[in-house]
Symmetry: C2
Subunit: 263 residues, 2 copies
Amino acid sequence: MKLIADNLRITKDSIRQALAKKDPIPIQALVTRCVQQGAHGIDINTGPLGKDSESAMVFFIKAVEQVTDLPLLIDTTNPAAMAAGLAVARNKTIINGISLEPAKLEQILPLAKKYKTDLIGFLLYPDSRVPKDSSERFEIALELLARVELAGVAKEHLIIDPVVPPLSWDDGLFRARELLKTISMLPELLGFPVRTIAGLSNLTTGVIDKSRKTLVETTYLSMLAAAGLNYLMLDILNPHTRLAARAATLLTREDIFSWESLA
Amino acid sequence: MKLIADNLRITKDSIRQALAKKDPIPIQALVTRCVQQGAHGIDINTGPLGKDSESAMVFFIKAVEQVTDLPLLIDTTNPAAMAAGLAVARNKTIINGISLEPAKLEQILPLAKKYKTDLIGFLLYPDSRVPKDSSERFEIALELLARVELAGVAKEHLIIDPVVPPLSWDDGLFRARELLKTISMLPELLGFPVRTIAGLSNLTTGVIDKSRKTLVETTYLSMLAAAGLNYLMLDILNPHTRLAARAATLLTREDIFSWESLA
């Protein structure tokens, strides 16, 4: 399981201010810490961005690339910003992401072909509703795969994000369990070893108590790893979550156990 | 997932001395702490016991029953001690356990019928070798089930222990993963909702570094829970392992999520 840092988010004051001042230093300091903690990729979550979205994205990409060669997940719903980021990036990029939402299929999906990148497909209905169970998720996955191939993108570029539910929903527990089933069955169902990604932060949305939040996150990420998840998006600067993710990766690896991998 | 305290072991000096002096206090103090930490059952691991094995077992059972009504797992390879414990116990008892080893099939298995108790069956070859993969485990499970029914014990009394491997074995990781598969597939394979139990302590046999040990244990127990394990034997006095086991139980429960269950 590869670890993707979800720490670079425009919702953080320091990052928003860095963008406003076009000051790369706070962004680079944050990304450098993520790299030091063993991230395998950096999610650049800029949100939709407003006017000057293209130059804002270019600023982010250039700032990050000055401190790391890691793959970058470009995380925006803004097609112009996405295109600008893909055009300027030198690191490997991943489009994060598309769904069956028509605007995304029309404006973002074609960018995966143009820039020959991987792209993340969310298992959501076209109106962004979350599917209820694994059979609904499988139908959406099949439809997404069909759309991706129709757009001339090789299926191997698709990485599926089944969308982790908040446990606080009435049926949050049920959904969280169904998600594990979805992850473990997707490769067989789609007929090729499709990769999967999941973001951990959604699970405990709204929870204040930090230790309970971490406890539930570390438990669930172990289950995600056992289900065969390929990429985990997480707060890699939380030492508990990070260590648990490394231990889970260690236990699901196809080689000889070594305690050193936990160092 | 129910939690069985594995803390009461004759290998501990304090417990061995308590038995020598027939002093129930150290045993009761330990068991009381396990009960306070939410154990759902107590494993009484007396080892084979020497001479006076029957009176020793009776002493253990009576000492424990004075402080708890929880189910007791009688954990000995000595048939006479097992019989003495089952005969004297007032709490619910579980025989821990049998395997395909001829002596156990002949001398311990019949006690499950006589005392109408649940019994744990280890997935080991008759010579106590550990099976290598899940297909070998399934064959052994089918054979065990046949032996149990042949002995006049209803199959619903059987609880299967697939035997957690030490990760330090050359193929420890592979075996640990195969075990998860075994647990999740056993009910379907045996054709009824057979219960499963696993002991966590074996996983990190020989490991000195306490924090690494705990990290790997908490990760693996989450995977066991996700695979559908019914009973986890653990050091319930380790707060990290205990909390992780509660969180894993919470995430695999069939009801509404509640943070209070982690309190």
